[in-house]
């Protein structure tokens, strides 16, 4: 079995804030294989943005690495120098951000921006320009020549996101990180973008780390899923296992609460009561205990480790330890 | 039924609250090193201005020809000018002139600007447009040019200087007061007051004004150095206070004429202006930092 493309191993990141040390990522471990699409599911505040920033090594000044490693194509990204990271950003690892309206420079034309990100290539300007046109056509933007001379505010959200995809895939990266690319778009656009991503994935064969809180999209697009809560990985496994055989109370509640999953008509949509805990306070026990309806005594005293609970399936919950797999 | 606003107890509590607010602000300013320097400089300035008549070592106005154009010495700390007057005494006296112009000008402008701004913000649209147009027109004149035009028409004197300096400052306060009034106009507590039938005067005077005054005070602190500089500038050009009244500007004027004979007059005129304007600016900047976030917190 070949080594995974991306292996995240026990990564813990703190932020030094005025209120104290905020533990944004707690012992994160999962991996992404070559050509695979892995989804990350979690509500706001679960640490997704910090995770992306950590992989790219673009954390703010007050972030502190506590432990763990991120292995990408054999190198530990955390130990890499800034120059080595910069060589990889936009070439081996690309990102599509959540807010297409804000993610592109408003006063520079699309064309100029698309040429700029090809800054490593020594080809002449005309070639870079042509490549930009080709990429735009590939994502379905008509009249690409004219479009390149326009500014971001002249495009709709859906088109901007397609441009962002074009930019991200321009260098044929090994890993594409998509940070909630469809959250800011309406449902019909979402379907379109997902379809396009699927086609492009088939064509280019890159790995994708797809972050979303839309379970339906995750189910359709991804092969494996990571469930994150308040900076920790609570469950990780194949799509089938996670959706049909969830082994963590949070995952179970998430699936129950997903509007697409609800079978019966009800007056009110189910929610998970409570809020994520204050991450500046020291934690004793499981991170989900306050909102969990199935806690046992052990949940309050020790944090459950991520253990195998089936074929291609890991979960971090004490409940699973009462019934060890045979 | 007792009106909570006029009820004596509430009044006392409110004025206590205002006092402690004030002290808190002063404390906040003093904690900042720049603010502290500003407070000290302004304190010295005000002290000199108020007690100038008593602390001057020599008569700043009387002529003493036999002692003219001396350099610094133990009798005359900064030397004498072309009429034998002690430069140091004139320097101290100049602070009084500066204050005499700055205070009425700034407070007059603040009062008028505040009133007009509140009317513009609270009143009907046509009145707002009219007043805003007036503000913008005054602002479209380069300040000194405007001052010179007025002085040309009316003739130089202390009153003219005060009037001109005040007129150029009014739009600054007016615009800010207008913006604040517009913002507060639809806030909840104003609507509540209106629904209780509070009179226009009460709304503007008792409820809106205290909120706006904070912001305007910061503006005033930043405006005072401009005003002092304008007065000094006009006096330097010979278009300000009439001699023999010693203004820092007139010290500069004499110093300029005698620049090759003695450098001390220019130093005596220029240095206090720089130090005082620095002091007020530091104070104003720190005040703004202290007042601004607090204003937001209180909302």
């Amino acid at each position: 079995m070949t080594a995974p493309l991306l292996q995240i191993d026990g990564v813990t990141i703190d932020y030094n804030t005025k209120k104290g040390n905020l533990r944004a990522l707690r012992d994160i471990s999962f991996d992404v294989n070559k050509g695979e699409i892995v989804g990350i599911v979690g509500e706001s505040g679960c640490g997704k943005s910090t995770l992306i920033s950590t992989i790219l090594q673009l954390l703010p000044q007050n972030a502190e690495w506590k432990k763990g490693a991120i292995n990408f194509k054999g190198k530990n990204l955390i130990a890499c120098s800034e120059k080595e990271m910069r060589d990889m950003r936009g070439k081996d690892i690309s990102v599509i951000f959540q807010d297409p309206m804000q993610s592109l420079n408003p006063v520079i034309t699309i064309g100029r921006q698309m040429v700029d990100i090809q800054h490593r290539s020594t080809s002449p300007y005309a070639e870079k320009w042509q490549k930009s046109i080709d990429m735009l056509s590939m994502v379905g933007i008509a009249d690409a020549e004219t479009r390149l001379k326009q500014h971001p505010f002249e495009f709709s959200g859906g088109m901007l996101q397609r441009i962002a995809i074009a930019m991200a895939l321009m260098s044929r990266p090994d890993l594409l990180i998509a940070d909630e690319p469809t959250t800011a778009l309406d449902a019909t656009l979402e379907v379109e973008i997902i379809k396009r991503l699927k086609d492009l994935h088939k064509e280019m064969g890159c790995s994708i780390l797809f972050i979303s809180h839309h379970l339906g999209v995750i189910a359709e697009l991804c092969q494996r899923v990571v469930v994150m809560y308040a900076g920790s990985v609570v469950e990780f496994g194949s799509v089938d296992e996670i959706f049909f055989n969830p082994k963590h109370p949070y995952t179970r509640r998430l699936i129950e609460c997903d509007p697409g999953h609800i079978k019966e008509r009800a007056k009110r949509l189910p929610t998970i009561p409570g809020e994520i805990p204050d991450l500046t306070e020291a934690l004793e026990g499981c991170i989900f205990q306050e909102r969990c309806s199935e806690t046992i005594a052990k949940c309050k005293t020790a944090p459950p480790p991520l253990v195998s609970v089936g074929q291609n399936h890991q979960a971090a919950c004490w409940l699973n330890h009462n019934q060890e797999p045979e | 039924m007792s009106d909570p606003i006029t009820d004596k107890e509430t009044k006392v509590k409110m004025s206590d609250h205002r006092q402690s607010e004030f002290l808190k602000i002063v404390g906040g300013v003093a904690k900042n090193p720049l603010g502290l320097i500003g407070l000290i400089i302004v304190g010295v300035f005000v002290f000199c201005a108020l007690f100038a008549d008593w602390i001057v070592p020599h008569d700043p106005v009387g002529m003493n020809i036999k002692d003219r154009l001396q350099g610094p010495s133990t009798t005359y700390f900064l030397g004498t000018d072309q009429l034998g007057r002690d430069t140091f005494s004139r320097l101290i006296m100049g602070s009084q002139v500066a204050l005499k112009v700055a205070l009425p000008a700034v407070f007059g402008a603040m009062f008028i600007g505040l009133t007009l701004g509140m009317i513009a913000g609270y009143g009907p649209r046509w009145l707002d447009n009219f007043l805003s147009l007036i503000f913008d027109t005054i602002r479209s004149f380069p300040t000194v040019m405007f001052a010179l035009a007025v002085v040309a028409l009316v003739g130089p004197s202390l009153q003219t200087v005060v009037f001109v300096v005040m007129a150029t400052s009014i739009p600054i306060y007016g615009r800010v007061a207008r913006t604040q009034t517009l913002a507060l106009r639809n806030s909840e507590f104003i609507l509540a007051e209106r629904s209780m039938g509070a009179s226009l005067f009460r709304i503007l005077g008792i409820h809106m004004m205290p909120n706006i005054i904070g912001v305007l005070s910061v503006l005033a602190a930043m405006d005072i150095p401009t005003v002092i500089a304008l007065e000094a500038g006009l006096s330097f050009l010979g278009l300000g206070v009439k001699p023999p009244t010693p203004s820092w500007g007139s010290l500069l004027k004499d110093g300029y004429a005698l620049i090759r004979q003695t450098p001390w007059l220019i130093v005596a005129g220029g240095l206090p202006i720089i130090i005082t304007t620095l002091g007020f600016t530091f104070l104003g900047e720190t005040l703004r930092d202290v007042v601004d976030p607090r204003l937001r917190k209180n909302r």
Binding site: S103 | L153, I266
Partner: protein, 312 residues
């Protein structure tokens, strides 16, 4: 873009119209015979009579206003009391010197201000950042004409590094003569612009598109200078346009202190000799300059930032 330009210039014309009316009313508002005021006590009865007729002062006020405007539109700002020369001609002769001084002041102070501000923003909360902040506030506070006098004293009279008087002839001499006055005028601007650029840059550097640029591995220098600065500079342009008023005021003093020809010296001399038409003409021209510069800076702003073309 063209449409925006036209609309903006129309607005400028409107403001100027109102300002001129205000000037007109101001003259009328002063107690006394306006002709006496305009010509001053040195006027002869013949001059008074001819001016009264020319201004149509026997006519109703609104008609006077119309005459005033029509003359202005034709470029006629009246005549000099002593020489009879056209005021317009006199003012236009002096204007280039003032413009030269203002231009020189803006160039060096904007350049230095942007450099300091960008550096401070790229290295926030370091010693140098705090130093720049302190120096900026100090520069902003000190009045230009005092700086002018002190630098005259120290650099021209005492040290003799620079000439104390005049404008100079020939490029290098003119440059030599303009250094001290431009320094005095520009000093407070360095502080002002540095602070503005710092704040503006910090805001831009926090925006999402900068994050994207970093995520694509663009060099930090390019990000700061091309991507961030281009947006951060916009407020500076607006500020310079609005600051023209301050610059004109400061230039008046600088011209007096360094005995340079220009609008400032013209106005002061005319006030002393009670040559009121020249005073009014110079004030009107400088106001027009101010209004025009705010309009131009808005237009340049719109050119650089396509987003702002939508407003107005």
């Amino acid at each position: 873009m063209i449409k925006y330009m036209i609309r903006r210039l129309a607005l400028a014309a409107l403001i100027l119209f109102v300002a001129v009316t205000a000037m007109f009313l101001m003259i009328r508002a002063v107690p006394g015979d306006p002709v006496q005021i305009m010509l001053g006590p040195r006027a002869t009865p013949e001059l008074q009579a001819s001016l009264t007729a020319a201004l149509g002062l026997d006519q109703p006020i609104w008609k006077q206003l119309v005459i005033f405007y029509s003359k202005m539109m034709q470029g006629d700002l009246g005549v000099d009391v002593f020489s009879g020369r056209s005021v317009t001609q006199i003012v236009m002769q002096q204007l280039p010197y003032t413009l030269e001084l203002i231009f020189a002041s803006i160039i060096w102070s904007a350049l230095l201000g942007v450099i300091f501000g960008a550096y401070a923003a790229a290295n926030p909360n370091t010693f140098w950042d705090r130093m720049i902040a302190f120096v900026s506030v100090s520069f902003i506070a000190a009045p230009a004409f005092v700086i002018a006098l002190l630098s005259l004293l120290v650099f021209a009279v005492q040290l003799r590094w620079f000439p104390a008087i005049g404008v100079g002839e020939g490029f290098w001499s003119r440059l030599h003569h303009v250094v001290l006055p431009a320094f005095a005028i520009g000093l407070s601007w360095v502080g002002y612009i540095a602070r503005l650029v710092r704040a503006s840059m910090l805001e831009v550097l926090g925006e999402h598109h900068i994050r994207t640029a970093r995520a694509f591995g663009l060099a930090e220098r390019r990000i700061i200078m091309v991507y961030a600065l281009r947006i951060a500079i916009l407020p500076v342009i607006t500020v310079i346009g609005v600051g023209m008023g301050f610059l004109l005021s400061a230039a008046v003093f600088a011209e007096i202190v360094f005995a340079r020809p220009g609008l400032g010296k013209l106005v002061i001399d005319s006030i002393t000799t009670r040559n009121y038409p020249v005073v009014m003409g110079a004030v009107l021209v400088s106001t027009g300059l101010f209004v025009l510069s705010t309009a131009i800076s808005d237009i340049v702003n719109a050119w650089l930032d396509p987003r702002s073309r939508q407003s107005l």
